[in-house]
């Protein structure tokens, strides 16, 4: 059955080789049923082709304004235009924001020496400098000022004092220290 079907299909498709075709036609002449089947197949194919051509001839695409597809296309085109406008507005807003962020006027840089603590340091030790500035002072006399901008904190590092510099019996002016009792009546020797 399948073999016969295959032969009929290959013959009507024109896919048979010449020798195969001649053998098949001999078979068709000998077998009336096969001949009838082949004729029926040919008729069916011809009718189908004619029918397809006739349908195709009558297919006219409806382009009238009320046609569903035309309406749908117009609607999506309008929606697409709206989208384009939204995207354009979005892009402009974004660009404006970027421009604002990039080119906005920067706040005046805070001078580290203008903080109250720093002013105090400046008044009390005008010779002090920051480490980055060249100085003629010997390293052990430099005062390192480390300021933290924005928080107003200042840390003053003084070089460590040597034993030579420290005299517990002298006050800051070099005079011998005088110790008094807590009531200040008499000096304690």
């Amino acid at each position: 059955m399948i073999d016969r079907e295959l032969k009929i299909a290959r013959y009507t498709d024109g896919a048979m080789l010449p020798e195969e075709k001649s053998a098949f036609l001999d078979e068709v002449h000998a077998d009336h049923e096969l001949r009838e089947a082949l004729e029926a197949e040919n008729i069916i194919r011809n009718i189908f082709h004619a029918d397809a051509a006739s349908i195709e001839k009558n297919i006219v695409f409806d382009t009238s304004p009320g046609a569903p597809l035309v309406e749908c296309l117009a609607a999506t085109a309008a929606s697409s235009n709206r989208k384009t406008i939204y995207y354009a507005i979005g892009a402009v807003v974004l660009l404006a924001l970027l421009a604002f962020l990039l080119f906005r006027s920067e706040p005046p840089a805070q001078n580290p020496l203008s903080s109250p603590v720093q002013k105090q340091i400046e008044q009390s030790a005008p010779e002090l400098t920051t480490p980055s500035q060249p100085t003629n002072l010997s390293p052990d006399k430099r005062v390192h000022v480390n300021t933290e901008i924005g928080r107003g904190k200042a840390e003053i590092k003084t070089p460590p004092q040597t034993k030579k510099d420290i005299d517990l019996d002298q006050d800051v002016k070099g005079k011998p220290k005088v110790f008094t009792d807590p009531k200040g009546h008499m000096p304690i020797k």
Binding site: I8, I59, T76
Partner: protein, 196 residues
């Protein structure tokens, strides 16, 4: 090779259609509108209904613009025929449920446009319309639209052997129907074929 190439081209057209390219949509429409209309008409047996149904298929394609992931569709032909087929089957089912074919108005009757056809043509076309939907769709795609069985197999995600077997049975059924009706009508199809 050409088939693979055209598949890629069509997938590209669909991709462009989805992102809003109306020219790509027009190309796709020109490629498939007639095929889909013939297919729908042979499945439904009615011209106006087929035309409306195919418009609905195209509207669904346009609506894909709202679903960007649909650009992954690779076989556009298969996709379009699948939508058309499903819509046709829905229509056939609902027509069976709600509206007997004899209740259709005369102008909408499938047979009304066939007055110029010969008796044999009428028999063949009626025989096709009486086949089960699955067999009918196969024969329409092969005989009306010129798709090879291998292409149909790929479109329907089935093996070529399965499609070939089904098509053979459908053709044999159709031929048998034609021969039996012809005998009943006293038409000798061998002589008829020779004369025509």
């Amino acid at each position: 090779m050409d088939y693979e190439k055209s598949k890629k081209t069509e997938a590209g057209l669909l991709g462009k259609t989805i992102v809003g390219d109306d020219a790509a949509f027009h190309s796709l429409f020109s490629l498939y509108n007639k095929k889909l209309t013939i297919f729908a008409q042979k499945m439904l047996g009615e011209r106006e209904e087929a035309r409306d149904l195919v418009q609905e298929v195209w509207m669904r394609i346009i609506e894909l613009r709202r679903v960007p992931s649909s650009s992954l569709i690779e076989h556009v032909g298969a996709y379009l025929f699948r939508i058309t087929r499903n819509l046709c089957l829905d229509k056939i089912r609902s027509a069976k449920e709600h509206l007997p074919i004899d209740d259709l108005p005369e102008c909408d009757h499938p047979q009304s446009s066939k007055s110029e056809q010969t008796a044999l043509e009428e028999i063949v076309i009626a025989a096709l319309e009486n086949l089960p939907a699955e067999d009918r769709e196969l024969l329409v795609m092969h005989s009306y639209l010129g798709y090879a069985y291998e292409e149909i197999a790929e479109m329907q995600s089935k093996s070529p052997e399965a499609i070939w077997t089904r098509a053979s049975r459908a053709r044999a059924k159709l031929r048998e129907f034609v021969r039996s009706v012809a005998r009943k009508e006293g038409i000798d199809i061998v002589t008829k074929q020779k004369n025509s």
